[in-house]
């Protein structure tokens, strides 16, 4: 219950207030029903209860189940949600039936709400973070959910060197691992060296979604060397064809690098549980009979019977399948360029295409590696006039017209509209098409010598060639890059594009061997920016932030690797450090603005066009799903719209084939 | 029938020539079965003579012929050749490079008139190539020579632009002869050159061969399974059985009085030229011995009508029965064997 949320210091009042206000927004909270008989369940479950294979709904639900306020109306049971993912991409697959993170992001994407934990608080001058778990929740196999799972995860998974190469970095403040304590059956706490201000947001995002997979200790102990009988465990390891218990554990806990959810025996807290692992590219998840949320009328959620997820090796084919009417709920990896295809198939396929907003401030960020090894290029890339010239030479309207069906606006990599850090001036700075201005700037830098073909020469007399590496599975970037080649030719620069396997781009980045990079300009949302400002602060050594990789490596390794940043780059790192331990909203706003101002001045990232929507495919009679919304990595797809309360009018999709 | 003087110089001396197939040790240690196609053959051919080599199919005579022309590399033994300029070289052991000068001296004529001519080459190329390869002629000169050769073997010079498929079997054999002659060889290994031809054509080819021999002082090693042809053409004859010579003699001697039961059996299989000479044909029973698994003792004993105990255990040596006559039989001389010569002569 929210009542237990009691900030100990005034400075945390704002944070608490934020959480409290979110309840009204998201409609999440506990509401007691007078009699258990008020709960209703899906017909299949009622049959199972009648036949005695399942306890009654009252026994399965918590005493005070979470009541989800439906978006539009109370729904009816039935129907298959059909969706398709591409190449088993993990996060899309995970978001398919919505993670139940420890905390959650509100429907409007702005704030953090309770979920598995009903409240949280900072004590001990903010250095201790206390998490109060909901009571009465049961795993999909009927076992009780309590704090002992956290103890298992923290002490036996996160701190176990065989399972985790290193403790989860998101839980570290100033490089230090916190101390964990299980206060009681439903309370856990971590004590840090300084307040971990971003922790609630992180518990609502990636870590918050992945940790619960380690929590069913009653199931996982049998595969863990700390608990299982050694002989029995060795037997299980050998029988499954593995060589170490850790391999078996990783396999059974579904913690897979690419393919989540492969073990139907694994208990879950999600609205759906795996009934059949991926077979012939198809995976089916049935309703979880112990799911702990109900609608205002006491109907146990979810409404739909199951989710049928097909994995496609090719995005083109997935989109063809959409147009053929094989899916009724797709919100990942759709491309705006394929809108004509999706829209053309709407009527035939019994679906409609909604256009949602994303967390991309710009569709692409073009990054010059400011720590590039070539000294001539390094000097050039660190000259902001060069980057301004580059930016001015881009005909962004043409990019919008040719790549985005004319449906985009020129934009730098700032924040998405609606963000509290959005600044219109910075977002559009140097986005006008001005090749003359670009040429003038390039001349001003001193790139005046040209060869016979009109290509400018570098200060050492070699032709000025910019080399960009693009992952081959990213056709969107390739299309933009192809236009950049032409734009650059007009200002006398040779722009080389090399598309190679994604993993090889990764290897180049890790060695700081890239010169110019391009990536999707996502994560520019309030939900992500404070803790993951990949494009604005060089902190992440494992990201795609080509622009300051050596600086990021220096930061991430505590000075062991990479290169020490100077000036503004150093400054943003310090600001980021401060952001992580600052809970005061006003100061956080200031820090963010300062980081973004420095970025606008340095033009570390150059955006192309922004506000390109993402098509979302919804079955014609799918209800309780917003017409307009946000989707993208910042919200792990769109789990904040709560798939469990979505239903088909009439109990089945109108496009279902018999 | 030409008769040669005994004083003629030896041109080819084959000594203990062997050609085995298989029998190599593989890396896995298994040894495959050895096939002794030619197993220690010794004889001498004199310049200008026609030396016949007869035996059933599969007895190794073709292999022997090819070893001598070095179309195959012998496993052992020597083929001592006496070049025109004197001396002696062992063709069997020369490395390909050293062999080159002598290649042109020993040429071959083949049995199959179809497969012996490359269907995709014109006669000019077929006959001219040996000259070009050996640097005897080039350009227009080749055309001249090919034209001459064609006319010599009884074809028209302008045929040289044509492909072999335009010719009949006999004509093709003439082309094959022209090719063999292209290098002015001294020895020609004739590997059953007429057996694939119609009888009427056979005679023409044999006559051509004889004429050429006289004209160019050629020496022939004439391989045949047809005793009639051998009797007609050859000065001396060697009879082969599973890789070995079992009898060697002047043609008239051999046909008059064979010393080896196998020779007798071969002769009896020839349809008698005179049908009135009623004679029980001593047909060969059983199959040719398996060269990969030879019987002990005399290799011929399982099929021999005169076999005694000794034949089963002891392998006979090739011995000189009388000057110039060799035989490989324990009982040579004991037996009275039938020839065909007197019958043939009676008919003449």
């Amino acid at each position: 219950m929210i009542r237990t949320f009691a900030p100990t210091r005034r400075q945390f009042l704002k944070l608490g207030g934020l959480a409290a206000s979110s309840i009204a927004l998201g409609g999440l909270g506990g509401r007691a029903f007078a009699q258990g008989s008020q709960y209703k369940e899906a017909p299949q479950l009622a049959e199972m209860v009648a036949s005695g294979t399942l306890p009654s709904v009252d026994e399965r639900l918590p005493e005070a189940p979470v009541v989800v306020e439906p978006l539009e109306s109370v729904g009816t049971y039935g129907g298959h949600l059909r969706t398709g993912i591409i190449q088993n991409r993990g996060f899309q697959a995970r978001s398919a039936w919505g993670p139940e993170p420890i905390l959650r992001i509100s429907r409007d994407g702005q704030s953090v709400e309770p979920n598995l934990a009903e409240s949280w608080e900072y004590t001990n001058d903010g250095k201790t973070f206390v998490l109060h778990l909901r009571r009465g929740i049961k795993w999909s196999d009927g076992a009780s959910f309590d704090a002992s799972g956290f103890d298992f995860w923290w002490n036996h998974v996160n701190l176990n060197a065989e399972l985790s190469p290193a403790p989860m970095a998101q839980f570290m403040v100033q490089g230090e691992v916190p101390t964990f304590e299980m206060v009681d059956d439903h309370t856990v706490q971590w004590t840090f060296v300084a307040p971990h201000a971003n922790l609630p947001a992180l518990l609502a995002h990636g870590p918050g979604g992945s940790i619960p997979r380690y929590l069913p200790r009653h199931y996982l102990e049998q595969f863990h060397a700390d608990f299982a009988d050694e002989a029995a465990l060795n037997g299980r390891v050998a029988e499954a064809g593995f060589s170490t218990w850790a391999e078996l554990f990783n396999n059974r806990s579904n913690v897979q690098w690419l393919m989540p959810f492969d073990n139907p025996a694994m208990p879950t807290l999600l609205p759906f549980k795996l009934s059949r692992p991926m077979q012939l590219n198809v995976l089916v998840a049935d309703r979880n009979p112990y799911y702990w949320k109900v609608d205002p009328e006491g109907q146990q959620l979810p409404y739909v019977d199951d989710i049928v997820l097909t994995n496609y090796e090719s995005g083109e084919v997935r989109d063809a399948a959409i147009a053929a009417g094989e899916m009724n709920w797709v919100n990942t990896d759709t491309t705006f360029t394929n809108l004509p295809l999706y829209r053309e198939g709407q009527e035939r396929g019994n679906y409609s295409v909604k256009l949602w907003q994303t967390d991309r401030a710009a569709e692409h960020t073009i990054m010059f590696n400011h720590t590039v090894k070539d000294p001539v290029l390094r000097e050039l890339y660190n000259d902001v006039r060069f980057k301004r010239a580059f930016s001015l030479a881009l005909d962004r309207q043409q990019i919008a017209d040719t790549v985005y069906l004319g449906f985009a606006v020129p934009s730098q990599l700032q924040m998405i509209p609606g963000s509290k850090w959005r600044n219109e001036e910075w977002a559009t700075k140097d986005t006008e098409y001005d090749p003359d201005g670009a040429n003038a700037l390039l001349d001003e830098i001193g790139l005046t010598n040209r060869d016979g073909q009109g290509i400018r020469q570098r200060s050492d007399g070699r032709p000025l060639v910019l080399n960009m590496d693009i992952p081959v599975d990213d056709p969107g970037s390739l299309a933009v890059a192809e236009l950049i080649i032409e734009f650059m030719r007009e200002v006398g620069i040779t722009f080389n594009v090399r598309s190679i396997a994604r993993e090889q781009v990764r290897a180049l980045i890790d060695n700081n061997d890239t010169e110019v990079g391009i990536w999707i300009g996502d994560k520019c949302s309030d939900a992500m920016f404070p803790h993951s400002p990949e494009w604005h602060v060089p902190y992440l050594a494992t990201g795609w932030n080509v622009w300051g990789m050596a600086w990021a490596q220096f930061y991430a390794s505590g000075g062991q690797q990479g290169e020490e940043p100077q000036g503004d780059a150093k400054l943003v790192q310090e600001l980021f450090d401060e952001m992580q331990i600052t809970v005061d909203e006003a100061r956080r706003l200031e820090i963010g603005n300062e980081i973004l101002r420095i970025n606008a001045e340095n033009l570390w990232n150059i955006g192309d066009v922004g506000q390109v929507p993402i098509p979302v495919i919804l079955g014609s009679n799918l209800r309780n799903y917003p017409e307009e919304g946000f989707t993208g990595f910042s919200w792990l797809g769109n789990y904040n719209y709560q798939i469990e309360q979505t239903y088909f009018e009439g109990g089945a999709w109108s496009g279902e084939r018999s | 029938m030409s008769s040669i003087s005994v004083q003629a110089e030896p041109i080819l001396s084959v000594r203990d020539l062997k050609k085995h197939f298989g029998g190599k040790k593989t890396w896995s240690g298994a040894v495959s079965k050895t096939i002794r196609a030619v197993d220690g053959v010794t004889f001498t051919i004199y310049e200008g003579e026609t030396f016949g080599l007869v035996g059933e199919s599969g007895c190794g005579k073709t292999t022997l012929g090819r070893c001598i022309a070095r179309a195959l590399d012998p496993t052992g033994g020597e083929v001592v050749y006496a070049p025109k300029e004197g001396g002696a070289v062992d063709l069997a052991s020369l490395k390909p490079r050293d062999l080159r000068p002598y290649r042109q001296d020993v040429q071959m004529i083949f049995q199959d008139p179809i497969s012996s001519l490359n269907p995709r080459m014109t006669l000019l190329d077929i006959i001219g190539e040996p000259m070009v390869v050996n640097g005897l002629a080039r350009g227009e000169e080749v055309k001249h020579r090919v034209g001459d050769l064609l006319e010599r073997v009884g074809l028209r010079a302008e045929y040289m632009v044509r492909y072999p498929h335009a010719f009949s079997g006999g004509q093709r054999q003439r082309i094959g002869i022209a090719r063999a002659l292209a290098l002015n060889p001294r020895v020609i290994v004739c590997d059953e050159p007429v057996s694939a031809l119609d009888v009427s054509v056979q005679a023409q080819i044999l006559n051509l061969l004889q004429d050429l021999q006289a004209e160019k002082n050629l020496t022939y090693l004439f391989i045949a399974h047809d005793l009639g042809v051998v009797e007609y053409l050859c000065d001396r004859v060697a009879v082969m059985y599973v890789g070995q010579v079992v009898e060697l003699a002047e043609t008239s001697d051999l046909f008059a009085r064979p010393l080896h039961p196998y020779t007798e059996a071969l002769m009896s299989a020839v349809p008698p030229a005179n049908p009135r000479a009623a004679r029980a044909p001593r047909l060969l029973e059983g199959d040719l011995a398996n060269a990969a698994n030879l019987p002990p003792g005399c290799h011929f004993h399982p099929r021999c009508g005169y076999c005694v105990e000794r034949c089963r255990t002891e392998e006979p040596e090739l011995r000189e029965y009388s000057p110039g006559r060799f035989v490989r039989c324990h009982r040579a001389g004991e037996l009275k064997l039938d020839g065909v010569a007197e019958l043939a002569e009676a008919d003449l």
Partner: protein, 325 residues
């Protein structure tokens, strides 16, 4: 023949060993290792520290010398343990067991389809050279050769759903996906599979048919055919008796490559048709440097190649008695 088979088997072992080395080395050709590609799959926000990267390498054994890694893989392989896939956290054996049967279920019928269709057509086109049918078949064949399989597959899919209301790839149409096994479901699967076989096989048919036609034309011009014809043998009997047997030998001599070529060469088509064969798995494994998975698939495929070559050598001897072993 027996001797030959034994001898060849011995050589096959050596070849397979050499191939295992090559397989292992080849997948190490691209720079980086699985840890790089693991990082490539992470999205931002997932922070992996430098210490963790080092630890990850150690966990996967990637910090060791290549020879040591190879030796460990080989010794495990000899005990029937192909190791685990880093990215799937499953045993390679398990993954192969899931994919290989389907792969064979597609490729073997495809191979049969290719030969059953291409050889008779090739014979017919050669014998009736420059007939209308010959021209039509040439034309059709070259269209299938000149349009990539991938494109043909996409066009087929498009036509299928746009005009016939069919499904898009996969082994089952959506209505059968959740249904229990029934005759309808089996028929549905066979229908989807035959589309795959047809698309994957078309270019093979076109190529094999051309080769067969060419070889038979060569053979028909041989003198012995003329001779046989002169002897008055019936035309078809004559052709079937010898020239066809000889002409088919080059077609047979590549049979050994057909299986692996189909398996690894069709990954693009399998991708379009969304059939989970080993092709996409290998592609993925190689790209992400999932070492044991990639090396093991390559190894299994190479064994198939070696066996295929062996079979084709035996067939060669059967078809053309002039060839000595």
């Amino acid at each position: 023949m027996m001797n030959y088979a034994i001898r060849r088997s011995g050589q096959m072992l050596v070849t397979v060993f050499v191939i295992s080395v090559i397989a292992f080395v080849v997948i190490q050709l691209p720079p980086g290792d699985f840890v790089n590609s693991y990082l490539a799959t992470l999205s931002g926000g997932n922070i992996v520290t430098q210490d963790a990267i080092v630890a990850l390498r150690a966990q996967f054994g990637l910090d060791e010398n290549l020879v040591v890694q190879y030796w460990r893989w080989l010794t495990n392989l000899l005990q029937g343990n192909m190791g685990i896939s880093f990215q799937y956290q499953r045993t390679v054996l398990d993954l192969l067991a899931e994919r290989l049967p389907l792969t064979l279920a597609i490729t073997i019928p495809t191979a049969i389809f290719v030969y059953m269709v291409a050889i008779p057509i090739g014979i017919y086109s050669a014998v009736r050279q420059y007939s209308l049918v010959d021209y039509l078949l040439s034309f059709a064949g070259f269209i299938f050769l000149a349009v990539p399989n991938f494109l043909i597959a996409i066009i087929a899919i498009y036509i299928g759903y746009r005009y016939f209301g069919g499904g898009v790839g996969g082994l089952f149409s959506p209505e059968y996906e959740l249904a229990p096994w029934s005759i309808g479901k089996v028929l549905n699967m066979m229908q989807n599979m035959s589309l795959a076989i047809l698309i994957i096989g078309t270019s093979g048919v076109a190529a094999t048919m051309r080769v067969m036609r060419g070889m038979l034309l060569d053979e028909l011009s041989q003198a012995y055919v003329e001779t046989a014809r002169a002897k008055g043998l019936g035309e078809w009997r004559l052709i079937m008796k010898y020239p066809v047997r000889v002409a088919v030998s080059p077609v047979l001599s590549t049979i050994g490559f057909v299986l692996p070529a189909l398996i690894s060469g069709t990954e693009i088509t399998a991708t379009v048709l969304n059939i989970p064969t080993t092709g996409p798995l290998l592609l993925n494994a190689v790209r992400s440097q999932d070492m044991f998975l990639a090396a093991s698939i390559i190894f299994v495929l190479s064994i198939l190649t070696v066996i295929g070559t062996f079979i084709s050598d035996l067939l060669l001897v059967w078809a053309d008695p002039r060839i000595k072993l």
